[in-house]
């Protein structure tokens, strides 16, 4: 009794934290019917639970942890139940790594869970270590597309439920639209290709010379025709490549895109080619579609809603493209009569675009890095 009396008195004013209470860090990334998991559990806690220090020398070595992998995975994963709807999602943990956190070394368990269908409602039940440490907490980070949710599991709240499905269909579509817009804006090659083709649209060839178009409407129809040709062409190949009907090596595609920009620039200096702009646009548009497709596949394609993502991304590309055209057309139309436009913008601009694209072509074809665009 005396002993504990004294301790109690001292306890009260002690800085109660120091070291750190036991936490594990669980991160789940949900994609359709799959969950990629990373679970960091302190070696100290695992040692208390299943005994890692096999030789009892007070030092936990990598050898001891490595040979205990099956045991660690079985112990941890039997204390985490993830269900999608009514059915459980069994886990596979092929390997684990090590990481250091503020309070020491952690086993990093990497695992994959496969649910029977695309996940709509995710239920997680966490029971790790509560029987040994009532103040243990599981810090969860749940990622789904662009969304990240965090939650804390404790003995008092071991279960959490997350809604993944329905709402995210619209969200997912929005995300792909946004990606499409950004891709056309940030992919300078597409922008320059389009601009090169549009530069002569406010002019027309009369008796071997450039003349401004007489009215806005005829410039508008010309631009519309070019943009439509580009859109139809790249939509065809984007679709075909995305569903897997055609596949081209990306280096070839990227080089061809650069070549298309060179060609578009130079063609403005050759009036005969200018006459066939719509056809040229269509043919090269096919190549650009392959470029879009590789971006889309990098974003990851949901099996369940492939069509939705494809259409959304394509829509985004068109929206981004329209924004460029809407800025270009009034400006070019206003300037079309000036010497600056006919000489400087059209000729030098086209030349400049061609030179820049030439550099891209060399870079991409030879796999070099000339400048950071």
């Amino acid at each position: 009794m005396r002993l504990i009396l004294a301790i109690a008195m001292l306890l009260l004013s002690a800085p109660a934290w120091a070291h750190k209470p036991s936490d594990s860090l669980l991160s789940l990334t949900v994609q359709h019917d799959r969950i990629e998991g990373r679970w960091d559990i302190a070696l100290r806690d695992l040692d208390d639970a299943i005994g890692l220090d096999a030789d009892g020398d007070g030092a936990i070595t990598w050898g001891e942890v490595r040979t205990a992998h099956e045991k660690i995975a079985a112990y941890a994963l039997s204390r985490l139940t993830v269900t999608s709807g009514e059915t459980g999602c069994p886990a596979q943990a092929p390997r684990h790594l090590i990481d250091h956190h503020t309070d020491g070394a952690y086993a990093v368990l990497l695992f994959t869970m496969i649910c029977p269908a695309t996940i709509d409602t995710l239920r997680t039940e966490y029971r790790l270590l509560f029987d040994l440490d009532a103040q243990h907490k599981g810090l969860l980070r749940l990622t789904h597309g662009q969304e990240t949710t965090s939650a804390i599991f404790s003995q008092e709240s071991p279960s959490q439920q997350f809604k993944i499905g329905d709402i995210s269909l619209w969200r997912q579509s929005r995300q792909y639209i946004r990606e499409g817009i950004w891709h056309i804006w940030l992919g300078y090659d597409h922008v320059l290709f389009l601009l090169a083709l549009l530069l002569p649209a406010v002019l027309r060839r009369v008796a071997g010379r450039w003349e401004p178009t007489p009215d806005f409407l005829s410039a508008f129809w010309e631009v519309l025709a070019i943009v439509t040709a580009f859109t139809i062409a790249h939509s065809i190949t984007l679709g075909l490549a995305t569903v897997g009907l055609i596949a081209l090596p990306s280096r070839l595609v990227e080089s061809a895109i650069a070549a298309s920009v060179v060609f578009a620039g130079i063609s403005n200096l050759h009036p005969t080619l200018v006459q066939r702009r719509r056809l040229v646009t269509f043919l090269f548009g096919l190549i650009h579609g392959f470029g879009f497709a590789s971006v889309l596949s990098d974003l990851g394609l949901p099996r369940g809603s492939l069509a939705l993502s494809l259409v959304s991304f394509n829509l985004g590309v068109e929206v981004g493209q329209l924004a460029i055209v809407a800025t270009f057309l009034p400006l070019a139309y206003g300037l079309r009569k000036s010497w600056t436009y006919q000489r400087l913008v059209l000729v030098s601009g086209s030349l400049g675009i061609a030179v820049l694209a030439c550099a891209w072509l060399i870079e991409r074809a030879l796999d070099l890095k000339l400048f950071p665009l």
Binding site: A16, H19, D23, L43, I60, D99, T102, A105
Partner: protein, 388 residues
Amino acid sequence: MIATGWLALSIPSLTSGEPFLPQQDAQVLERVSVKAANPVAREISALRTSLVHDPQDIGVAVALATKLIEQSRSEGDPRFLGQAQAVLNPWLNHATPPPSALLLRAMIRQHAHEFDLALADLDVVLGLEPTNAQAWLTRASIYQVQGQYEDARRACQPLLRLAGRHVAHTCLADIASLSGQATMSREMLTSSLERPGVSARERLWILTILAEMTARTGDVKAAEKHFLEAQGLGIKDHYLLGAYADFLLDQGRAQEIVTLLQRETRADGLLLRLTLAEQALHLSASKDHTAELAARFAAARERGNRVHVREEARFTLALLHDPQAALTLAQANWEIQKEPWDARLLLESALTAGSRNAARPVIDWLNTNRVEDRKLQQLVAQFPKEQS
């Protein structure tokens, strides 16, 4: 050897985030206690084994939980508190938990700064067992931390009948030293020390209170003597180390802190003092340690922990040099606990941030209770006089 291992371990944590595959089986990843060499660990493991044989035995469970709480105390490691609570859980989940389990839960909750929950547990315990000295003492401690000295004093009084005289006297003297009776308290404590039958742990407790009290009143010589005497008892005590380091810091003896604490980087409260000393000495290690502490505070926030607000305020003020943020933390901390250090942090941050208004609750508290603390009085004197 172990110390170098620990130091080496604390460095990679700065770059946490990228998991790796160790290259060699022999690579040491973590140090744990060696059961064969550590008597406390052996005792704990023996108690665990008996509890496995007879899971219904509350006597064993209480003994084990007590040991774990004690271990948390000496190592400054809150993991043991969670383990103690887990041992008691089967009884705590009853509709009417037995008082022995509730009492320990109150102590665990006190440690987690859940003061109101702890007091509620103690009310139940004392309702069932009005002669439970430990429950009275714990209640007195909580009221004292909360700055409710009248309630604390009332909780000490039953100890005169229920426990050794020196226990009651120490309980009362600790409170009295904060409320205008430092001289009397000092005499009471000194005479308590001379009583026969004072255990080593009780001696440690009394000496620590005495050392801090004399340091507060500015008797540096006496404080030094009591600190050294307490250290000399040979009981590892995390709180004592921290208090002694604070004393040395105030005396400008940073070099001694580096010697004292350089192996204590695992305990965050002690790492904080070590880093402060390193900063005072312009040692390059203070940079790494500041980053390390920042990572630990971030980890605690992630968990939703509010136990460390005092340390975080001190860290923010003295190492991050951000008086505004420190003031906010010190004010939040003052809502929870009101010990001299809490007052000091609020005063120092308010002073640096140039806000007399923020310091007012502490100044009122000092005046109401007639707290004798030279450092606090010096700080108050630095505020510009109020214009009435």
